[in-house]
């Protein structure tokens, strides 16, 4: 039964003598492959060269410090609330006397953990953070041998005072 009038009768035309020889086709094929010999190679020699990331690339998180080396995070929990994968947990603590050089405000995160296997790298924590504390960087999460090791604590996430991580590409220049 014909449903539409768009059907076509497929014909398999008889090959001409030149086509039956196959040699012209083979030679044109050889021409195509030899062209690739001189093309630019797509390979990147990995350990020596690394691929350029897009400026919007969302990789491993970092917990920022301010200019004086104090942690920005105040353990408000907005990142954990916004996280769709529920990868972030934290414990808040009160800043004691003499710790002013370590934490910027009176409250800080005593424990801050991100489960890197749960994380979907959506960047909503970064969007939610009111204190410029958490950013997603262009660093790749290192591989580990067990699942437990993928729960990253403050020792990994907080940037070192002497090794600041550049997040200028991710900082929003607009205000709402």
């Amino acid at each position: 039964m014909q449903l539409t009038n768009r059907s076509k009768v497929v014909t398999k035309p008889e090959m001409t003598f030149v086509e039956k020889l196959y040699l012209p086709a083979i030679f044109s094929g050889l021409g195509i492959t030899i062209k690739h010999l001189f093309k630019k190679k797509a390979t990147l020699k990995y350990p020596e060269q690394t691929r350029q990331f897009a400026p919007v690339y969302r990789g491993m998180h970092v917990l920022k410090r301010d200019e004086q080396g104090r942690e920005n995070c105040t353990a408000c929990g907005l990142c954990a609330v916004s996280c769709p994968a529920e990868a972030i947990t934290m414990d808040a603590a009160e800043r004691k006397k003499g710790e002013e050089g370590l934490y910027r405000e009176e409250k800080y995160a005593a424990r801050y953990e991100i489960n890197m296997l749960r994380c979907i790298y959506c960047g909503l924590c970064e969007e939610a953070c009111p204190k410029d504390a958490i950013y997603l960087t262009d660093r790749i999460v290192p591989s580990e041998y067990s699942r437990g090791e993928f729960v990253f604590g403050k020792d990994v996430l907080v940037e070192k005072v002497d090794q600041r991580i550049d997040v200028s590409k991710r900082k929003k220049t607009y205000t709402i």
């Binding site: 040699l23 195509i32 630019k40 390979t43």
Partner: protein, 354 residues
């Protein structure tokens, strides 16, 4: 230096060169495959990855030797040995260059100038099928057996067309089977009787059809793509060498590359003038004889390397034949074409002379 000592040195030298070229063919294959696919290929071992064949060889030697319990032990070991032996034997009759001359004695750069040279090569090459057949049979494995059967039927079918295409060439050299005579005749005379370039009187200009038939058949004889049905790793998981491991597998793979080298040499000798190169006579008048000899060796190796490259080039161009297509091409196309070519050549030579 006695002639026996010279021949002994030559034999060892050719043996080493064959193995060296086979080793670096594996590297070349991977490199060319990579380049044709816009990749870079092995480049970690040494500069440009040039030490890769050594690393591969060491790996092959250190791998565990597995002989299946259900296999025929003696034949299982005999298979790769025979394959390698026949692959190495063929190089004996190939003339590698113009003779060298030291102190009045002439040393021919050919291990044995026997008067049935090309016949000897065809004979030894067809012995090579035993190596594959025995190996595939002794493995006691379905895939290996299928691969071996494919290999033997393919090699037997294509040998006929190959032999027929050679006959046309032999007719042109007054029926001499000696490879040395065939190569020499291509260095003399004028191309088509009037183009006067010395050393350019190559058979390919007279016998293009025979050349194409011989080329296609040598692809089939060396089990290279598009005729790699015996191995066909995608269908038969390696074909006849499925059960082989360690250096026995290495011998099979190595033997294939040596076969490739030798068949490139035979093609060069039969159709591309062997060690002859354009301007060979002029160089003979201005340079010492031994230097010209070495240049002629280089010319032959240049042709050989081109054909080895061509083998690899075709591998990444043409997909594998189906088995019935393979048989149809061998028996219904190449075979009649070769016979017609012989008839036409014979007719022209009979009625129009030289």
């Amino acid at each position: 230096m006695s002639i026996v000592l010279f021949k002994a040195i030559l034999v060892v030298l050719i043996f080493l060169i064959s193995l060296g070229i086979a080793a670096y063919s594996t590297y070349g294959e991977r490199k060319i495959a990579a380049f044709l696919q816009d990749r870079i290929g092995p480049d970690r071992a040494g500069p440009f990855g040039l030490l890769q064949p050594i690393a591969d060889g060491v790996k092959m030697f250190l791998k565990e030797e597995i002989i299946p319990t259900v296999s025929d032990k003696l034949l299982f070991i005999a298979g790769p040995s025979m394959f390698m032996l026949t692959a190495l034997m063929t190089s004996a009759v190939i003339p590698w260059g113009l003779p060298l001359e030291f102190g009045g004695t002439v040393y021919a750069l050919q291990v044995a100038d026997i008067n049935i040279g090309i016949l000897y090569i065809m004979g030894v090459v067809s012995l090579g099928v035993y190596g594959i057949m025995i190996g595939g049979w002794a493995s006691n494995n379905k895939f290996a057996l299928l691969g071996a059967i494919r290999a033997s039927s393919q090699m037997i079918s294509y040998e006929l067309a190959m032999g027929m295409s050679v006959i046309a060439v032999l007719l042109m050299t007054n029926g001499s089977l000696s490879l040395n005579n065939i190569v020499q005749s291509q260095g003399e005379g004028k191309l088509y009787g009037f183009i006067n370039i010395s050393g350019m009187n190559w058979n390919i200009f007279y016998q293009p059809v025979a050349f194409i038939i011989f080329l296609v058949c040598s692809f089939a004889e060396t089990n290279r793509t598009p005729f790699d049905l015996p191995e066909s790793e995608s269908e038969l998981i390696g074909g006849f060498h499925t059960e082989y491991s360690s250096m026995k597998l290495g011998l099979y793979l190595f033997g294939e590359y040596i076969n490739m080298f030798i068949s490139s040499a035979v093609i060069s000798c039969l159709f591309l003038g062997g060690y002859n190169f354009p301007g060979i006579e002029y160089l003979g008048t201005v340079l010492p004889h031994n230097i010209v000899s070495l240049i002629s060796v280089a010319a032959l190796f240049g042709k050989i390397f081109f054909f080895i490259f061509f083998f690899m080039w075709v591998r990444w161009t043409i997909p594998r034949f189906r088995y019935d297509q393979l048989m149809r091409l061998g028996w219904q196309i190449l075979m009649p074409l070769a016979i017609i070519n012989v008839l036409i050549t014979g007719g022209i030579l009979t009625f129009f002379g030289n």
